[in-house]
């Protein structure tokens, strides 16, 4: 029996067919986007839509910083103080390291890890100390970065810590396809961890092996977290982004010395403003024998090695 006034053209068969197809389709879509739920824990729409560091207005930067504070608190259980330190006028940072004095104790390596909230497992280290044979060749091929000893320095060796040289002509900046890394006016080469796509071109381009990649989400115990954080510096990084030495931007732009310098028991590390003729680094470059690592590459580093005699 059919009543033309109530006939909508939907038979039982077509209704069942359509609803089955729709349900299967919805289930397939849900299954397809299921992996995205794992992403959702840390990333947000705001983070996705965030602009490049250089395009952020001061108000937008404020919002971003407080969002990062919330994110870090949610992930690590401790509320940090994230700031955006700006470069000072008339300041260009230079680092100098005394190869005569360095004993290779690696205290700088671990002070850096503690100060800059690097991942602890796997541990990311910005500084790599090379043990070099004291045979006059200065051959990096003969260097040993994984040395162990009961006591250092060992006879017949000298030690050369290598970290980011903050080059004036940085190959890493030139190769970045998205401009997520650049040089600040005070000479510090920085990374915007929110803009980096993790292609690792910069890691390959760096002749000093100064850049590190976050293969996994950094694991940092809450009680070891340094809560004095900076946007371009030591805030916790994300999985899949590059990071590197930034001269402890949260310390140096507040006028303090980097952590690796303060911990050095031999006083081999010197840091300061090269534009100030009375700074320690100016004295070194004027009066000491200075070595530039891989000078022939023309990278013009702001990191110098020097000798006592």
């Amino acid at each position: 029996m059919s009543d033309p006034s109530t006939d909508t053209g939907v038979t039982r068969r077509s209704f069942l067919r359509t609803s089955t197809v729709l349900a299967a389709g919805a289930a397939a879509v849900a299954a397809g986007i299921a992996p995205l739920r794992k992403l959702g824990q840390f990333s947000s729409v705001d983070e996705f839509l965030q602009k490049h560091y250089k395009e952020l207005t001061p108000e937008e930067m404020k919002t971003v910083l407080s969002r990062i504070e919330t994110e870090v608190e949610r992930q690590y259980g401790i509320r940090p103080h994230v700031r955006d330190y700006k470069p000072m006028n008339g300041v260009e940072y230079v680092y100098a390291l005394n190869l005569t004095r360095c004993v290779g104790c690696r205290k700088c390596v671990h002070a850096c890890v503690a100060e800059n909230n690097q991942s602890r497992n796997p541990e990311i280290q910005y500084i790599r100390v090379l043990k070099m044979p004291n045979d006059g060749t200065f051959d990096l091929e003969k260097s040993d970065p994984v040395y162990t000893a009961k006591a250092v320095p060992e006879a017949g060796s000298f030690y050369m810590p290598v970290q980011c040289h903050h080059c004036k002509n940085p190959p890493c900046v030139r190769v970045c396809p998205v401009k997520a890394t650049w040089q600040e006016p005070d000479g510090i080469t920085v990374v915007d961890y929110n803009w980096c796509i993790g292609c690792r071109y910069c890691e390959a381009a760096c002749p000093y092996f100064a850049r590190r990649f976050n293969w996994s989400t950094p694991s940092i115990p809450k009680e070891q977290m340094n809560t004095n954080m900076s946007y371009l510096g030591n805030r916790p990084r994300y999985k899949g982004v590059m990071e590197k030495c930034h001269f402890c931007i949260q310390r140096t732009r507040a006028g303090r010395y980097p952590a690796c310098l303060e911990v050095c028991p031999t006083g081999s590390r010197k840091f300061g403003n090269i534009l100030d003729p009375n700074s320690e680094v100016s004295y070194i470059l004027k009066n000491k024998r200075v070595l530039i690592l891989k000078e022939e590459l023309g990278t013009l580093p702001r990191f110098f090695y020097y000798f006592d005699v």
Partner: protein
């Protein structure tokens, strides 16, 4: 109440009070006055020069004398309210724990055993070297330079008063100015130190933001054995275990 019983009551009360006081005094020993401390360096003189922790006595003595240990970074591991037990051998030599083997404990207070009114006499061996007394073995390493003549205590110390230093030409130098005495022989190093190139620094590179913290020679070097012994290197590059 009769006059007699009043008197006996008063006397009885007084007896009880005196007896109680006698018992109280007998129980609480009179406090022995602590021996006066003789700091080699008066911290107040060093204001602005040195961090307050850089007083030239050993960490063990500082803890024992109840001094301000806040400048020492011992509390990275030790708890402030639970000072570590210091083990001492029969000859008063401090037994250093293994993990402290790269600490500098060589800066000792000579005046503790050698007061100013008892000058020290040196004994010389046949070859002209100074005989180090038995009591100093392990307490004081004498290894200053490669020339044995450097081991003569009175090259730097005043013979009558060990707390007084003098340069080679006899000019008196105060203990807290010992860096100037070192400069007498180590000129190039002193020149670098003055320029801020030699030695540990901390604080501020930007002098308008805060002070730089400098160290004196004897803050890091044991003046009796200035060369450093080896340090234990910290772990190298980290590789994630494969089974994770």
């Amino acid at each position: 109440m009769s006059e007699e019983s009043k008197t006996s009551l008063a006397l009885g009360t007084l007896t009880v009070v005196f007896a109680a006081l006698a018992i109280a005094f007998a129980r609480v020993p009179a406090p022995v006055p602590a021996p006066p401390r003789q700091p080699l360096v008066v911290p107040a003189n060093l204001a602005g020069v040195l961090p307050p922790g850089t007083v030239r006595i050993s960490a063990a003595q500082l803890i024992k004398s109840g001094g301000d240990t806040s400048g020492l970074d011992c509390y990275a591991c030790h708890h402030k309210d639970q000072p570590p037990v210091i083990k001492v051998e029969a000859d008063r030599r401090i037994i250093l724990p293994k993990e402290h083997s790269d600490l500098i404990f060589g800066m000792r207070n000579c005046a503790e055993c050698h007061p100013a009114d008892k000058p020290v006499k040196l004994e010389y061996a046949e070859d002209g070297t100074v005989v180090v007394p038995e009591a100093h073995r392990g307490l004081l390493a004498m290894a200053h330079g490669r020339n044995f003549r450097n081991e003569n205590c009175f090259n730097c110390h005043d013979q009558d008063q060990l707390n007084q230093l003098h340069t080679a030409d006899g000019t008196k130098v105060k203990f807290e100015d010992a860096t100037l005495l070192c400069a007498g022989c180590h000129g190039p190093t002193y020149r670098d130190w003055e320029a801020g190139i030699h030695g540990r620094t901390s604080g501020y590179w930007d002098r308008s933001a805060g002070p730089i913290v400098r160290q004196q020679c004897a803050s890091c070097h044991d003046p009796h054995a200035p060369a450093f012994t080896g340090l234990i290197p910290m772990p190298g590059p980290h590789f994630r275990a494969r089974d994770k």
